[in-house]
Amino acid sequence: MTELSDELLVAYVDGQLARKQTRAVEKVFDQDDIIAARVEALKQAHNRLEAAFEAILAGEEMDVSAVSVPVQESSLSERSILKVALAGVGIAVALGLAAVGYGWPLSFPGLNSGTQGVMLPVQTAPLSTDWQEEAARAHALLSRASVEVGVESQSNPDFVAFQLSQILGTNLKIPNLEPQGFRFVRAQALRSGGAPLTQILYLGATGAPLALYAKKGEGSGTLTEKHYGEIGTVAWAEDGVAYLLAGEAEDSLLMRIATKIKLEPAPPLRSAPKAQTPVNGALDR
């Protein structure tokens, strides 16, 4: 057995080694089961720690989101008041430091007005009222691929996931939202700014559809709410994919669903589903 210290193996698992060292370590554990098992155990420890910290952040995001929803004065608990105040002070500190650092012209309206007026604002962008413009904007999202993803393939989620991953050029999550009351209806490929954009549509028992959009790209991992007229959205990015959950559901429900999707593990690498041929059928049997 080759001796490799935990120092080296932890640095390997954490991605702290140079490429040459990484290759050398990989060469050793390819030939040594004990080292390979140790690396696997360290990787598992690393992944479970990351997931644990992600779960704490999800709880904090839910808390902050809850603070942004207006509440009756009489229902404010002591802790809610503290959190609202905290949110206000936090924003003031961030803006104040940004002003110091970047010279932004800022004032702090409401900072001295006690806790009641301080809320985390959900941004609202105006929606166009001209239907022709709206239709033209929606049409700009269509691409050849929008039409080429055959409707008959929609009954096979693996095939849909594979096709969308191919179109997007990276793996993406296609979550099952049935426990949240939304069933998968269909998915399609669109385009935005010349790059592929995927849309996965869900329907609840009533009301308008819920859509999960995904586009290749980086961004903030924090769940961010924004409104476009009646449409509420939550945006975040992970593993090189930027997601946008959009719908007319309540803010708290959208945030809960977005949190669930974000906490789901990344999908495994997708390979093409087996074609249904007589030979494959016989092999499967």
Partner: protein
């Protein structure tokens, strides 16, 4: 950024109510002493450092700082969002709650926040070698704990001591 600051304070003190209070006091200090912020410093690194320094300052003023720094398991478990299938990684939660605050924060900054060792060291006011040493020690201990086989039940041990062929 606010959820990240809240997580940092909560993980530091091990409980949400206390964490909210600590963050509130630290934010007030930051606001009052914002002249100490140096242009070019990452805002999150500075803010995390200020929360940590506030906690350390308050702890030093306490008559029994060691007892004060210990955290309760129940309050710590509540920090983890469990809506998805009610899943709680109990071994990891138990392991984290048993760590000293500085080691817990090292893990949070590197594995939770994705900070490099230098930035994590800046927040906790230690060198990169200490950060690296803490990561090795804690990761190795957790890996050992997660890969340890459960103890064999007593009946199984008796069976091994007295195999069938040797019984009267």
């Amino acid at each position: 950024m606010l959820p990240r600051l809240m997580r940092f304070a909560d993980v530091l003190v091990g409980e949400r109510g206390e964490g909210t209070g600590l963050l509130s006091r630290a934010l007030h200090c930051m606001l009052a002493e914002q002249y100490r912020y140096q242009v070019g410093t990452a805002l999150d690194v500075w803010a995390f450092g200020e929360i940590y320094r506030t906690w350390l300052h308050e702890l030093r003023g306490h008559p029994n700082p060691v007892a004060q720094a210990k955290i309760a398991d129940a309050g710590f478990e509540d920090l983890f969002y469990q809506e998805i299938d009610g899943y709680l990684d109990t071994p990891v939660v138990g392991f984290l709650s048993g760590l000293p605050a500085q080691q817990r924060l090292t893990l949070l900054l590197v594995y939770g926040e994705g900070f490099d060792h230098e930035d994590a060291g800046r927040v906790l006011d230690v060198g990169t070698d200490i950060i690296a040493a803490r990561l090795v020690r804690v990761s190795a201990a957790l890996a050992d704990r997660l890969s340890a086989r459960p103890p064999a039940p007593a009946a199984a041990i008796v069976e091994t001591l007295y195999p069938e062929g040797l019984r009267g």
